[in-house]
């Protein structure tokens, strides 16, 4: 994020702190007294979604999830872990890069029209509680795209600058997770104000807490905590190591950019297109997909006009429409565009991969298309991918 350099957010104190799980309410108080609205994981409609939460009771405590290609189920956990679930369908992108936004409106005047700018950007101060490391990397990559160039989006940037991020490291991997392959998890390394690692061992329920910014240290100072014991730090390290080894998916990221450029004409794209619904669920849940469309509208009386920006997707035909027709008319070309941008051209454009290994595109694809399997199939010479 240009506003607050990542470096100032990554310097962790040598010894982490420990906070009792029962003191999570104090963390809420510390955040709300600083004017933050807390957004966290909560259960709604059979999934863990991110929404405004009043306090620890509103969190999805005691819930876990089982994720597989095209399948998501909430499950009860026996251990009472508060953050015992993985990334969910809503993601964090929408809080900064909303699905729909009015950019400006105009009123017809005697001598033409007058543009009425939207009210000055004054987004709420949000504290995001429970940001998974993969999702955090997603935000950092979105920062680069939306706010990093010569024309940063002012509203995105303002909302991001005001945000406080409490990351939660993943002590368990989900069925569609592959952050270990993408180098984005399971532990947060940058971009957070506080990072928690939940420890539910020895009958004690606590969080290892690392501050990644001055704002994080200030909030932590208002929450009961003590220095972590060596064995607590070690226990967290073991859990994170185990999570890294238990990823439900794996993507061999080595040379994947060259692979995709090489496989531009592979037959395998036709086989993916047979299964692909082109429904855009994958791009909607992807934490880095940023494409939008802009539409102008007028009212009935012709006195007002407005311009709106909405999420769009490379899977939509109209998205690539230029004079004469769409550039990517076939589903094959659209899936190829998505995967190739995500894993290959993103490197050329923005210097990183566009994929953070969260696996949400795999989980929320209604037919369970798994990009890790597709890459594997392309590597194997265009053989059929997952059998889903």
């Amino acid at each position: 994020m240009p506003a607050r350099p990542a470096a100032s957010r990554s310097a962790s104190p040598a010894v982490p702190a420990v906070m009792a799980a029962g003191d999570l309410g104090q963390l809420f108080s510390a955040l709300t007294t600083r004017g933050y609205q807390v957004i966290g994981p909560t259960v709604r409609d059979g999934a863990v979604v991110y929404d405004a939460v009043d306090g620890p009771d509103a969190l999805a405590a005691g819930w876990g999830d089982e994720q597989a290609p095209g399948s998501y189920r909430l499950v009860r956990r026996r251990d009472g872990a508060i953050f015992g679930h993985r990334s969910g369908p809503t993601g964090w992108k929408r809080f900064f890069w909303p699905p729909e936004l009015r950019l400006w409106q105009a009123r017809r005047m005697e001598d033409g029209f007058r543009v009425e700018a939207e009210p000055a950007a004054d987004p709420p101060r949000r504290a995001l509680l429970g940001v998974r490391p993969c999702q955090l990397h997603g935000l950092l990559r979105l920062d680069r795209v939306v706010a990093g160039g010569p024309y940063p989006d002012p509203r995105y940037r303002a909302a991001r600058e005001r945000a406080f991020i409490v990351a939660v490291n993943c002590t368990e991997a989900g069925g569609t997770c592959f952050c270990a392959s993408m180098g984005t998890g399971p532990a947060a390394t940058a971009g957070y104000d506080l990072a928690l690692t939940e420890l539910v061992t020895d009958g004690a329920h606590r969080f290892l807490v690392e501050a990644g910014s001055e704002a994080g240290r200030a909030v932590l100072s208002g929450v009961p905590h003590r220095q972590a014991e060596k064995d607590e730090v070690a226990a967290a390290r073991v859990l994170l190591q185990k999570a890294a080894e238990a990823m439900g998916r794996r993507l061999d990221a080595g040379g994947v950019k060259e692979l995709l450029y090489e496989k531009f004409e592979a037959d395998h794209w036709d086989r993916v297109a047979e299964r692909c619904l082109a429904c855009a669920n994958c791009t909607s849940v992807c934490p880095t997909c940023f494409c939008t469309t802009v539409t102008d509208a007028t009212d009935l009386a012709g006195g007002r006009a407005e311009r709106r920006r909405r999420w769009d997707s490379c899977f939509s035909v109209d998205f690539s429409y230029i004079h004469g027709g769409p550039v990517r008319a076939s589903v094959k070309s659209r899936y190829r565009q998505w995967l190739t941008h995500k894993l290959a051209t993103w490197h050329d454009q923005f210097g990183t991969s566009g994929c953070v290994g969260c696996g949400q595109c795999i989980t929320w694809c209604p037919v369970g298309i798994d990009l890790t399997a597709e890459v594997r199939a392309l590597r194997a010479g265009g053989e059929r991918g997952n059998g889903v």
Partner: protein
């Protein structure tokens, strides 16, 4: 000098009237509509039946009788811009289920004197009979989309009507996917947006009432539903409702 107001007409063919009621349902905006257009012909709402030609004709219903087939030609001749509204007019409607069966047999089952009945063997969309300038989908159509079409017509611009899947609307409003999180049969991934993902927001799978999205893949969705344990008959019935005769849905989930 103020131009005279464009003349609006609303015509009905085989349909339930729900789509033209959407125009009356505009309530707050109805006066604004009446202020901008001259409602010249709208039997459902007014006794005034001014003759054509009309600038903008909204046509509801499918063509199911020889008389309809004649009348739609006259409507077309009297309309500068013809917009079909709703699943009946754009795809043949629920009554297009007759297209998969024997209409004479149906008539015998329903009417005591079927010989009095003069009907076609097929229920077809208006576009099968005359050129159509714009199709507005839905069963019924969406009020916001109808107002957008009228506003766009008045401004001389192209209306903003998305052709993406209903999934894009579920994701925009933050509705959890019923198909993925609950195994609920849902036509959202192959159905055109426009309703605001209404049914899924009430925990019901999409019925596909807005018809096929811009590039639907029903066989892939049907395959997934089969994996989830839905039998071929159930999958076929899912596709064969309001837009049964829409080309992409016609095969009942099999390639059209």
């Amino acid at each position: 000098m103020k131009r005279s107001k464009p003349r609006l007409a609303v015509f009905k063919f085989a349909s339930c009237d729900g789509c033209q009621l959407t125009l009356l349902d505009c309530e707050d905006e109805l006066l604004a509509v009446a202020g901008q257009v001259d409602i010249a012909y709208f039997p459902e709402a007014s006794r005034a039946m001014a003759p054509g030609p009309y600038d903008l004709a909204l046509v509801e219903g499918s063509i199911t009788t020889p008389h309809d087939a004649e009348r739609i030609l006259q409507v077309r001749r009297r309309a500068r811009v013809l917009v079909t509204i709703g699943a009946c007019a754009t795809a043949g409607g629920i009554q297009a289920l007759r297209n998969f069966a024997d209409v004479a047999e149906y008539a015998r089952a329903v009417y005591p004197r079927p010989e009095y009945l003069e009907t076609l063997a097929w229920s077809t969309p208006v576009s099968s009979h005359v050129p159509v300038d714009l199709e507005l989908r839905g069963c019924p159509i969406d009020k916001g989309q109808l107002l957008e079409v009228i506003s766009a017509y008045l401004a001389g611009r192209r209306p903003n009507l998305r052709r993406t899947s209903v999934c894009t609307e579920c994701k925009a409003r933050g509705t959890t996917c019923l198909l993925v999180a609950g195994g609920v049969p849902c036509l959202g991934p192959v159905t055109q947006a426009g309703c605001g993902a209404l049914c899924p927001s009430y925990d019901r799978g999409c019925y596909g009432c807005f018809g096929p999205a811009e590039s639907p893949n029903p066989p892939a969705l049907a395959g997934r539903l089969a994996e989830l344990g839905r039998g071929p008959d159930e999958v076929e019935r899912l596709f064969r409702t309001f837009n049964a005769w829409a080309e992409a849905f016609r095969g009942g989930g099999r390639p059209a």
